[in-house]
């Protein structure tokens, strides 16, 4: 069977503008080759900067701003689309090759109905009449499992949920009956329980329509469920390329092995969890607009241990951290820290109380002043809380830099000159500088690549061992909870649905929602998705 898409020695370059230096031309993809047959799915996987999206877009003969395709061939049915003129490329895009972006919310025009946008390209290319396109859209909405498929197209983008929008975007791509679809991280922005529905819908639609697909993601467990072949990319080079079974079960390269084994570090759960450092009792909180976001939440963080607070977006887990820090005074309930009741308002707390509870943010980029050097960022808490100055302060900052495995050379750097993982390490050092007893970690690893996140988690665990610091670790990632938590709190729509030692919460008997959450997390196993869907069907048949 001839290959539908055949990429030969693809090279892509770009011009970068390093601050204070002359612009430079660099290669971001160095000679990538792969083949894709009709009806097959190839997963492109790698960390940020691996070039996976760039390669995906090259299949549409498109380069994002500043990106140039400098060499190689992209053969669609044997014809090189890179050498086509603009008119030829236009006739392919949206008709024979379609694209599904990561953020469907940003890709739909909010002023037009979904249905009109879904059928637009099919009509534009003259592939079908409006009636035929409507019919096909209805059919696609149906196989994608969207509610009320015949009227779904009459809604506007803001009237449907994020997961539905992502499926509508898939319908848009499938509508013109393309030979190839490029999925660019279609489920990354979704909650796990939504992700599984979208994954199942995409898989089902691909099977029913027989289209081929490039599936781009950073999550190996996700791509394992949906693709036939996997290509592992790193810094624009192929690391490993083979059938999905071989990559998952028998990876050959060290980098692939590391990806497959990510977050297997399991720490033994602490036995005695009764010594509470921080106690949250009957907290109810609302934002200024009167919307209540926390309903009667009670939990405690044991001394020297980790409490993981897990939930989907909107579950109120970050709000809980804001209440504990005093940024959002609750209207009911109290927070007790080492047997002292903390003032509800941050402004009224003593400097010592502020020092003992530190916060690490999700986005290290915005959590550090871009106009301060690393030395100033880490040094300020030392000066502020302990009155350290001059050489003593500098020595202590360097000591902290060594502790986060970065070293003295970073002392005079600005945040813009650090990588994502390094920024998060500096944020950790800033928190450590205050010698805190409790660190609130608000999804500190969710913006990072899996291996970098792993490094951050290892660092946090080592620091806990050395310094006996407690963590309240907010996350949506069950794998992290499994790896590091001593106790777990599960939240849903502002309510605490489950709280206790990890072994109790994550093992049967389950709370219903915890069960759903656990089952929705993709596992690094072939056929996991089918199994989950089959179990669900059986359960609903049983009811």
């Amino acid at each position: 069977m001839p290959d539908l898409l055949s990429v030969r020695d693809l090279r892509i370059g770009a011009t970068i503008f390093p601050p204070g230096e002359d612009p430079q031309d660099i290669d971001i993809v160095h000679g990538i080759s792969f083949d894709l047959q009709k009806g097959k799915v190839l997963g492109l996987i790698g960390e940020s900067g691996a070039g996976k999206s760039t390669i995906g877009l090259a299949a549409l003969a498109y380069g994002r701003g500043g990106v140039r395709i400098t060499g190689g061939e992209v053969l669609l049915d044997g014809k090189d689309i890179l050498s086509m003129n603009k008119k030829g490329i236009r006739s392919i895009r949206g008709a024979r090759v379609c694209y599904v972006a990561q953020s469907a919310a940003a890709s739909f025009n909010p002023a037009h109905k979904l249905g009109d946008q879904v059928i637009e390209s099919s009509i534009e290319h003259g592939l079908m009449t409006r009636e035929e396109a409507r019919k096909r859209a209805d059919y696609l909405f149906e196989i994608l499992g969207l509610p009320d498929p015949h009227n779904f197209g009459d809604r506007y983008p803001h009237q449907v949920s994020g997961g539905q929008l992502q499926r509508a975007m898939t319908a848009m791509a499938l509508c013109s009956n393309p030979e190839l679809i490029v999925f660019d991280e279609p489920t990354t922005a979704l909650d796990v329980t939504t992700q599984i529905d979208v994954l199942a819908a995409i898989k089902n639609a691909i099977e029913k329509t027989g289209t081929a697909a490039l599936y781009i993601t950073h999550d190996l467990a996700v791509v394992a469920q949906i693709s036939d072949d996997i290509m592992v990319l790193r810094n624009g080079d192929t690391v490993e390329y083979g059938p999905v079974k071989q990559i998952i079960e028998n990876p050959r390269q060290d980098y692939t092995k590391a990806l497959v084994n990510v977050r297997q570090t399991k720490l033994a759960e602490a036995r005695d969890q009764s010594d509470a450092l921080l106690k949250v009792e009957n907290i109810s909180a609302a934002y200024g607009n009167g919307v209540q976001v926390l309903h009667d939440v009670s939990l405690h963080v044991p001394r020297g241990q980790t409490l993981a607070v897990v939930g989907e977006s909107g579950s109120g887990k970050s709000t809980l951290a804001r209440v504990i820090t005093g940024l959002l005074p609750p209207f009911k309930g109290k927070v007790t820290f080492v047997d002292e009741e903390l003032s509800a308002e941050q402004k009224k707390r003593s400097r010592d109380h502020l020092r003992r509870i530190q916060l690490i943010y999700q986005m290290a980029d915005t959590a550090m002043n871009p106009r301060q050097t690393v030395g100033q960022i880490i040094g300020r808490p030392l000066q502020f809380y302990f009155g350290m100055r001059g050489a003593a302060r500098k020595a202590k900052v360097i000591e902290l830099l060594d502790e986060i495995e970065m070293g003295e050379t970073f002392y005079d750097r600005y945040p813009a000159e650090l990588s994502g993982g390094q920024k998060q390490r500096v944020a950790i050092a800033r928190a450590l500088a205050a010698k805190p007893e409790l660190i609130l970690c608000d999804e500190p690893t969710s913006a990072l690549d899996p291996l970098v996140a792993e490094g951050i988690l290892d660092l946090l665990m080592r620091l806990q061992k050395e310094r006996q610091v407690s963590y309240l670790f907010i996350t949506h990632d069950i794998a992290i909870v499994r790896a590091i938590a001593d106790s777990v709190a599960v939240m849903l729509q502002g309510k605490l649905v489950d709280f206790g030692p990890r072994s109790e919460v994550l093992n049967p008997p389950f709370d219903d929602y915890t069960d759903l959450l656990l089952k929705s997390v993709p596992e690094m196993k072939l056929g996991w998705l089918e199994n989950v869907l089959a179990t669900r069907k059986m359960e609903s048949a049983g009811h």
């Binding site: 820090t325 943010y361 959590a367 600005y414």
Partner: protein, 275 residues
């Protein structure tokens, strides 16, 4: 920042401003005659001795233009710096504090802005004693309302960033947050605005002087010089056009530099990233 990346228009602007400052600083050395010295007849045309001619009292126009740069630049620069100090401080305080302080300051600002600047200045200056420092203060306070508007908008954007929240959680005082966390990040847009307001300040001072409420005679100042010589225009004497041209040229020069600064700060490459 590299010198060769500065566009030609910005170069012209920079050189023009530097030339004006040079004249102002070394006025007593380069001016051929004294500021108040009556050297010849009224409205004599330009000749070898009086390169630009003489004014309505027979004073050398070139010398007065050079001395005028001194007063004009000093007063408008002092007023701009003062207005920025007031505006930035109040606007940042409002943005960081929020609540009643923000409301109070912002509504007061709206009140000030709702009165036309020129009329406000005329009334206040007519009542208060004629004094250069009062003039500077009045100009600065009126101009600071515009700075407040911009400063508050810029600071509000920065005040919600997490590094400011982190500083608050650390227990930092308001002054630290304003001057160490927010100000360094707001400097680029404010600097560009400073150039613009400086140009407006020159024009405003000239307007006031023209109306007789700015710099008082016999001190030279460009706006006042236009006023002194305006009657000559009826007789076809262009003495009034020369200081007028100087005002226009300086305003254009400042604007060319500001345009370049604005473009630089709003582009992706040269914005907050280049630390």
């Amino acid at each position: 920042m590299r010198l060769r990346e500065i566009p030609l228009t910005a170069w012209i602007g920079i050189l023009g401003i530097l030339f004006a400052f040079f004249c102002a600083v070394f006025a007593s050395l380069i001016a051929p005659f004294g500021e108040r010295e009556i050297v010849a007849g009224v409205w004599e045309p330009a000749n070898e001795l009086y390169l630009l001619g003489t004014d309505n009292l027979g004073r050398d126009l070139l010398s007065r233009l050079i001395y005028g740069a001194q007063t004009t630049l000093f007063v408008s620069l002092a007023a701009s710096i003062l207005s920025f100090s007031i505006g930035i401080f109040l606007s940042f305080t409002a943005a960081v504090s929020g609540g009643p302080i923000d409301q109070g300051l912002s509504r007061l600002n709206d009140l000030m802005m709702s009165i036309p600047t020129l009329i406000f200045a005329l009334v206040v200056l007519a009542v208060l004693p004629q004094n250069i420092f009062i003039l500077i203060a009045v100009m600065a306070i009126l101009d600071s309302t515009r700075v407040y508007r911009l400063g508050r908008a810029v600071a509000l954007d920065i005040a919600v960033m997490e590094f400011v929240e982190a500083a608050k959680l650390r227990g930092e005082g308001r002054m630290w947050i304003i001057f160490r966390e927010i100000l360094p990040n707001a400097l680029s847009p404010l600097l560009a605005e400073f150039g613009l307001r400086f140009a407006f300040s020159i024009l405003f001072l000239s307007t006031l002087s023209f109306l007789g409420l700015g710099i008082q005679p016999p001190a030279a100042d460009w706006g006042g010089m236009v006023k002194d010589n305006k009657d000559g225009i009826i007789f076809g004497i262009q003495a009034a056009l020369i200081p007028g041209g100087a005002i226009a040229a300086l305003a254009v020069c400042v604007n060319m530099v500001v345009d370049w600064l604005l473009k630089r700060t709003s582009s992706l490459k040269g914005g907050r990233g280049d630390a």
